[in-house]
C-alpha cells in the first residue's frame, strides 16, 4: 500500500522536465498520478525519481487550432468534459472522458497521462486512434509530432522516448456530416471497459469515411479495419467482421471468446448510433 522510496522534483517548465529526466537513470514523469501511483503502491514499478509536471499550468488548455482542437497534455479529464470548444467541435472526446473512472479520478487524471500510459483498456487511446489525432512531444532534440497510428506500440508501451514529454493533443473538428458513438461495456460504472467501441462516420447519404476504434481487444488500442472497409464498400453486415485481426485478452471481466462476441454486438450498435444525418 505504500510505494517504495523515490526522489521527487517539481518541473517548472517542459524544458526543465526534459532536463530532469535526462539527469537520472529510471526517472519517470508524474502528471495526475492516477495510473502511476496505483502501480507504485503495488510496487510493480520502483522509479528512482518522479518528475512532477502537474504544476506546469501552461500545459492545461483547450484551444481552437484551425481545422483541429488542441488540448494541453496536462488538461484533466474533468476539464475536457467541461470544455465548450470540444463540446461544439468534437463532442466524442468529452463524452468519452466523462466515462473514465469516477469524479475523483477525473479531478486528477490528465489526457496526456492517459495517452502516454498506453493502457489498451484506456478509453482515450482508442478515441484518438479513431479520430486520427496526433500528439506533440518535446525531448532533448526538440519537438516532434506523432500520429495516433504510430503512438501505441504495445501494452503500456508508446513511441515516446524516456526523455520525452507529451505537450499537446490535437483532434479534428467534426462537421455536420459526421456522426459518432462511444459504447463502453463494463460491469460496474467505475470500471475500465470490458470492451469499448468508438465509431466515427462521415457521409451525406452514402458513407465517405469510417473509423472504428476498439478498447481492450488486443495489446494496443486497435482499428477494426475489416469493418471499416466493408462499410465503405456498402456490404450488408460490416459489424460481423469487427473482431478480425484482434487478439483480445481473457481475464476476470470476460474470456477472449466473450469479447469477440461482444465487440461484434457493440460495433453494430455503435454504427447505428454514428450514422450521420
Amino acid at each position: 500500500m505504500i510505494p517504495a522510496p523515490f526522489d521527487y522534483e517539481v518541473a517548472e517548465s517542459v524544458e526543465h522536465a526534459v532536463e530532469l529526466l535526462g539527469g537520472r537513470e529510471d526517472a519517470k514523469l508524474l502528471a495526475g498520478g492516477h495510473s502511476l501511483l496505483p502501480v507504485l503502491r503495488l510496487r510493480f514499478a520502483r522509479p528512482a525519481l518522479l518528475v512532477d509536471i502537474g504544476r506546469i499550468e501552461a500545459l492545461s488548455y483547450v484551444r481552437d487550432a484551425g481545422d483541429r482542437i488542441a488540448i494541453g497534455a496536462l488538461t484533466r479529464h474533468h476539464d475536457v468534459v467541461g470544455a465548450a470548444l470540444l463540446q461544439e467541435h468534437c463532442p466524442l472526446v468529452p463524452y468519452a472522458a466523462g466515462l473514465i473512472g469516477d469524479p475523483q479520478v477525473r479531478h486528477r487524471g490528465t489526457i496526456g497521462g492517459s495517452l502516454a500510459h498506453g493502457d489498451p483498456a484506456g478509453d482515450l487511446p482508442a478515441v484518438l486512434l479513431a479520430l486520427d489525432g496526433e500528439v506533440d512531444v518535446v525531448g532533448p532534440e526538440g519537438t516532434r509530432t506523432i500520429a495516433a497510428a504510430e503512438l501505441f506500440r504495445g501494452p503500456f508501451e508508446t513511441a515516446l522516448g524516456p526523455q520525452e514529454v507529451m505537450t499537446e493533443v490535437r483532434v479534428p473538428k467534426l462537421t455536420g456530416d459526421h456522426g459518432w458513438s462511444y459504447l463502453k461495456f463494463r460491469r460496474r460504472s467505475m470500471d475500465w471497459a470490458t470492451v469499448g467501441v468508438v465509431a466515427v462516420v462521415k457521409g451525406n447519404g452514402s458513407i465517405e469515411e469510417a473509423a472504428v476504434g476498439l478498447v481492450s481487444m488486443g495489446a494496443t488500442p486497435l482499428r477494426a479495419r475489416a469493418t471499416e472497409q466493408a462499410l465503405l464498400a456498402g456490404e450488408s453486415d460490416p459489424a460481423a467482421l469487427a473482431d478480425d485481426g484482434t487478439d483480445p485478452p481473457s481475464d476476470t471481466n470476460g474470456s477472449a471468446e466473450y469479447r469477440r462476441h461482444l465487440v461484434r454486438v457493440l460495433v453494430r450498435r455503435a454504427l447505428e448510433e454514428a450514422r450521420p444525418g
Partner: protein, 150 residues
C-alpha cells in the same frame, strides 16, 4: 525529505514529508485527522475522499508533496461552530450509514457534487457516487440524504 505547506480545514501546516507519503497517511498519521479512511489498495472504494481546492479526490492516490501549497478539506472541517454541515445532518436523519466506514468519503463526494451541481437529479447523484463503495447500506438512504439537501 521535502518541506511542504498544507492548508487543512483552514489551518496552515508546515511539514517535512518523504515524497512517497500518501496524502491519506499525512492526514491520518501526521495530523491525526482519521476521518478519511483506507478501504482498498486499488483506488476503488472512495472512503479516503477529501477535497483538494474544493474538488473531491481520493487521498490514497495523491502524494502529500503533490498537495504542497493547496487547500485540503476533510470531514473534520465541515461542521461550523459546532453545528453539523447540512449533509452530515441529513445523513444522520436519513439513516444513511450503518458501520460508518464509507461515510466520510460519501459525504465529501456529495459536498463536491453539490458545489458543481447544486440541483442534481437522482440519476446524477447515483452517477456522482460511482467512485464510492458502501458495503452496508445498499445506497438508497445515501441517495435520499443527498437529495434532501439538494
Amino acid at each position: 525529505m521535502r518541506r511542504v505547506s498544507l492548508s487543512v480545514n483552514g489551518d496552515q501546516h508546515e511539514l517535512e514529508l518523504e515524497p512517497r507519503e500518501l496524502l491519506v497517511y499525512v492526514l491520518r498519521e501526521r495530523l491525526g485527522l482519521t476521518g478519511a479512511t483506507v478501504g482498498c489498495d486499488t483506488s476503488s472504494c472512495g472512503s479516503c475522499t477529501v477535497l483538494l481546492d474544493g474538488e473531491s479526490v481520493k487521498s490514497c492516490t495523491v502524494l502529500g508533496v503533490q498537495a504542497d501549497g493547496h487547500r485540503i478539506t476533510t470531514i473534520e472541517g465541515l461542521a461550523e461552530n459546532g453545528a453539523l454541515h447540512p449533509l452530515q445532518e441529513s445523513f444522520r436523519t436519513h439513516h444513511a450509514l450503518q458501520c460508518g466506514y464509507c461515510t466520510p468519503g460519501m459525504v465529501m463526494a456529495a459536498v463536491s457534487l453539490l458545489a458543481e451541481n447544486p440541483r442534481p437529479s437522482e440519476a446524477e447523484i447515483r452517477h456522482a457516487l460511482e467512485g464510492n463503495l458502501c458495503r452496508c447500506t445498499g445506497y438508497q438512504n445515501i441517495v435520499r440524504a443527498i437529495e434532501a439537501v439538494a
